[in-house]
């Protein structure tokens, strides 16, 4: 596609490879809005969410209660030697824990259900949105970028919904619960915790801040290294031909060591947080034991209370750790969600005019009246193009690369809308025809021959879904594809995988022609359909194409002039303008650009 590739990608580059292990710490630009929109997906399961929260509360309560029961058990049963009471308490404890486990299982499984439903809906919305976007979007955005919305970004959101959100919730509630119970057991002893915990949080915040910076620099280094690797490995054969191996190794060594130094720092800061917080918590535990011991001795704190309190202060470290370690993945998920929503917010194809008509039988009279067009405002690619194709005529476009041939083909199916002038089909302005109706009346055969992962039969039937098997076979026969299909192991039922990887370029093109044939279009567009095929194969395909063109209005872009000499009219394009037009012999007589192109080719 000329012209469009020069447009730089409008979407920011998504998560670079190397996501494993360290989530990139990109910051979402507007967290609140992103969270609200994510909530829209989750809130579809309000009932389940309520149930989950109930289970979550039960689960947390049992954990807290279990530890708390140590107090009465020690105080009232073990120390006073009350055996029947101890039996009773043991069973009570057992019961509480079983309830807790059951609640936890339900809570987790339900949350996964909710999360996966939400992710499923996000994926479906994203894909649905893609179907509604104009071609311009696909031409100006890297496919890899779009794919990474579905892979990296959706993954990040999915991971986060699966675990982070619940963990954050549980941790917060647990922390609050522990704190309240600590206060209840001994306000004085709680002050120890109150001294240490802010210290823990401060250290955590410090480390997070550091690691964020280092991750950002690591990400840049990683991007550079991955970019270099990809480029060199893709061009590895060229490297060999020019004996560039040593230079490449030297270049990569510098990039690689730079990455190593940045990554070591990032790894260090992200790794150090968890153990440091755990050890700080151990100090908390030690101080609690000391102060608690003193309180038992001098202030009459009960021993059972101390035991329970110590349990709590051990448990304190985990939620703190979890909250801080979820920080990064939640940030990454929000950034991912933001990128997903960015696509959902893209402008779809302009909807049909309210009075847009549906074409009935299409004769195939096509007219361009003073059409001008540019992909970017202010940069006109086509200037004042006028032409007419009567039903059944064959119009050809020739000219050097970049002359605007492909651009013309983008306008007729309204992949792009023209800026001035008018295009009509059977006398109706195409802007006043329902887009789907307009497109159904035409078929396109492109140079790149991509196929779908399904049977040969279904690949051809793609042209018209209600075509019968016989019609598909007829179309294949007409296109000249039947004989090689019949020779395939399962004939028409052969599965094509990897974009029809086991077929030759010529065979794939024949399938494309068959697909266009089965669609029975009134208008046909062929964009360099045979350019990457050797001349002998081309002759076979040309037969198929000629069959297909019979009785249809067709527009042909050709690299090799031999395929178009029988066109009713040939347009010679140069810099977006038609500089010569006429049939083959009259153009040759003019001895102009066409003559130059033509004789250059054959002498």
């Amino acid at each position: 596609m000329n012209g469009q590739t020069s447009e730089t990608s409008r979407l920011s580059p998504a998560g670079l490879p190397g996501r494993h292990g360290h989530v990139s710490v990109e910051k979402p630009k507007n967290s609140k809005r992103v969270i609200r929109r994510l909530w829209n997906y989750l809130s579809r399961e309000k009932v389940l969410l309520v149930v989950i929260i109930v289970f979550l509360l039960v689960n947390t309560a049992t954990t807290l209660a279990g530890s708390y029961l140590l107090r009465p058990i020690i105080n009232h049963y073990i120390l006073p030697h009350n055996i029947p009471g101890l039996i009773k308490m043991a069973f009570l404890l057992l019961g509480i824990y079983i309830v807790g486990a059951v609640a936890a299982i339900f809570q987790n499984r339900l949350m996964i259900l909710v999360a996966q439903r939400a992710v499923n809906a996000i994926r479906a919305d994203l894909f649905g949105k893609l179907q509604s976007l104009p071609i311009k979007f696909f031409d100006s955005n890297n496919h890899g970028d779009i794919m990474s919305r579905f892979t990296n970004d959706v993954d990040n959101v999915s991971d986060s919904l699966n675990t982070s959100v619940m963990q954050l919730f549980t941790s917060t509630i647990t922390l609050t619960g522990i704190f309240v119970l600590m206060l209840y057991i001994s306000p004085m002893l709680t002050t120890v915790t109150l001294v240490i915990v802010p210290l823990m949080l401060w250290v955590a915040a410090l480390i997070i801040k550091k690691s964020k910076n280092y991750f950002a620099t690591q990400q840049v280094a990683l991007g550079a290294a991955n970019g270099y690797l990809e480029e060199m490995i893709t061009g590895q054969k060229v490297v060999k031909v020019f004996c560039y191996e040593k230079s490449a190794a030297t270049e990569f060594e510098a990039i690689n060591y730079d990455l190593r130094d940045k990554a070591t720092e990032a790894q260090y800061y992200s790794g150090v947080m968890m153990p440091v917080i755990q050890n700080l918590n151990t100090i908390n535990f030690a101080l609690t034991a000391v102060v608690g011991g003193l309180l038992v001795v001098f202030r009459g704190l009960d021993l059972g209370g101390l035991a329970a309190f110590l349990q709590y202060s051990r448990q304190f470290g985990r939620p703190v750790n979890e909250i801080s370690s979820q920080y990064n993945s939640i940030q990454a998920a929000l950034a991912g969600a933001e990128r997903i929503f960015q696509i959902l917010d893209e402008q779809p194809e302009i909807s049909d005019a309210p009075d847009a008509t549906v074409l009935g039988h299409v004769n195939g009279n096509v007219r361009f009246k003073n059409v001008s067009f540019g992909y970017d405002a202010g940069k006109t690619i086509l200037k004042n193009i006028s032409l007419e194709a009567k039903a059944g005529q064959k119009i050809a476009f020739v000219g050097s690369t970049g002359a605007g041939k492909t651009t013309i083909m983008n306008l007729l199916p309204r992949f792009y809308d023209i800026q001035s002038g008018e295009i009509t089909v059977d006398g109706v302005d195409i802007k006043k025809i329902q887009r789907s109706s307009l497109r159904r009346s035409l078929a396109i055969v492109l140079q790149d021959t991509h196929l779908f992962t399904t049977t040969v039969m279904e690949n051809i039937r793609y042209g018209r879904l209600d075509a019968t098997d016989e019609e598909v076979i007829d179309a294949a026969t007409l296109a000249g594809a039947h004989s090689f299909i019949s020779r395939m192991p399962k004939g028409y039922q052969t599965m094509l995988e990897n974009d029809g990887g086991n077929l030759s370029q010529g065979q794939r093109q024949l399938l494309n022609i068959a697909r266009a044939t089965v669609a029975k279009p009134a208008i046909l567009i062929l964009d360099e359909a045979t350019s990457s095929i050797d001349t002998r194969t081309e002759q076979i395909i040309q037969k198929g194409i000629d069959q297909l063109m019979q009785g249809r209005t067709s527009f042909v872009i050709a690299h090799r002039l031999s395929t178009i000499h029988n066109a009713d009219e040939i347009m010679v394009l140069e810099n977006g303008e038609i500089i010569e037009r006429g049939d083959h012999s009259s153009l040759l007589k003019q001895k102009g650009r066409y003559f130059e192109l033509y004789t250059g080719q054959f002498d």
Binding site: Q131, T401, Y462
Partner: protein, 579 residues
Amino acid sequence: MKKYFPFFRKYRKALLLAPALVVIDVICEIVQPELMSEIVDNGVMHKSMTSILHTGGLMVGLSLVAIAANVGNIYFSSHASVGFAAELRKGLFNKIQEFSFSNLDKFSSASLTTRVTNDVNIIQEVVMMSLRLLIRAPLMLLFAAVIAIRINASLASIIGIAIPVLAVSIYFILRRGLPFFEKMQQRLDKVNGVIQENLVNVRVVKSFVREDFEKKKFGYTNDELKEMAVRASGMVVLIMPVMQLVMNVSIVAIVWFGGNKIMSGTLQVGQLMSFITYITQILMSLMMLSMTIMTFSRAEASSERILEVLNTEVDIVDSPGAKEKNLLIKKGKVEFRNVCFKYHPDGAEYVLKNINLIVQPGENIAIIGSTGSSKSTLVELIPRLYDVSSGQILIDDADIRDFTLLNLRTSVSLVLQQNELFSGTIKQNLKWGNVNATDNEIIAAAKDAQAHDFIMSFPEQYETVLGQSGVNISGGQKQRLCIARAILSKPAILILDDSTSAVDTATEAKIRASFSEHLKDVTTLVIGQRVSSIQAADRIIVLDNGEIIGLGSHDELVKSNAVYREIYESQQLQKETAL
């Protein structure tokens, strides 16, 4: 495993210090509950403030030591794991540099890139994890068990029951859950496949108005994925509650049996409290261990992919003695003697059969034939991009295997059919041909390839940046730059493999003209599709199914060679009917 040792060499110190520090950390941490029980049983029960403060001080001190040990461990294991990964990446990259064409054909470039990037990252993560958890968890488990037994052996028997129960439940959960994960991955691939196809086919989808059809197709695979994701994750989230239940039931058992022991005077309250902590630690370590093992098994696939690259035998290297001889190519005479070739040694059919050919220095040879006739293979044998299966190729009457690859490939310049430019300026790209080229030489080469004019039309001229962030050039312009790059290396033998297919015919003719003017002494071999672009060659080779079936000038071949005549006439016929 052994294959990886050399990549650790530079970081040996860090590799040893990291686990040593883990041992210190574990010791500091494992005695904490015991010290706590000291506080309770000695300090509190005997109301000894000095004991309480003393023991408490020791606990805090040990924690501080543990912090230092941990920071050190993370420091060294970061250095060791990241450093190792860097060396591994370098090793892989250098290995790939050595790869021959047939080595490269075995892997797709995307797959090679993933191996050097993602797979290495995964291994790095595993190393990092190993240097901490893999040592920490078993040590913790062992120490905690020893201390628990020392406190009270009969109470410790609870651990003997809890561990197998937990291990068995984790085993069963994973055995049921892991196949779900595999299936989930397959379905995920399918979903991605549908998206990928939709993207490349966007014009087809839109022109046939198949948006709703695609949505339905996607919806189906998407739902299938969701269903499996729910099942897979649903199994894994069982682990945590089950482990907690086992732990808590053990605690209940300890409270019950321990309570009885306290009443009978064989156990103290503080000991009971520390016992509960130890059993928690034991079961937690077991969890960690099983998680680590799971990560390991997931990294196994990555490791296999990396080893596959490292273990690939490079099949084209300098012959022994080539370096000492240091033969140079001066004239550019090329001779094929009974050359046969097939891509795989055990392949059934030769793609080139019994090729015999002598090309004189400075001669201009063209090669024509239909796709699949092995034209590209024939020329790729000359710079030893592939090695002949039998027979030999000689340049200047010496077997090409007697040259070093460097000398051979510097003198034989091949413009590949699938060519690449690299990000950087036009000048940097051209200099690939010759690092020491002067500006004048660069301009001369660009002129010969008919690239100078369009380069000068860019605002930055030779400094124009190509590639992702720079100007994009057309296919024909790219081909011309590739030709210029090849000319710049001043080869004795220049090979163009269908390198002007996107260049328009007028420009192609100009390139031919400047070749015959400035590259008179260079032996050239040109693969072409169109008779018109090759018929001026000194001699034309007609290749069919890997055999030379015609060799001679255009006029001779038109008279004597049926296949050539057929190609010529089909192109001629089109011309005549057209006229």
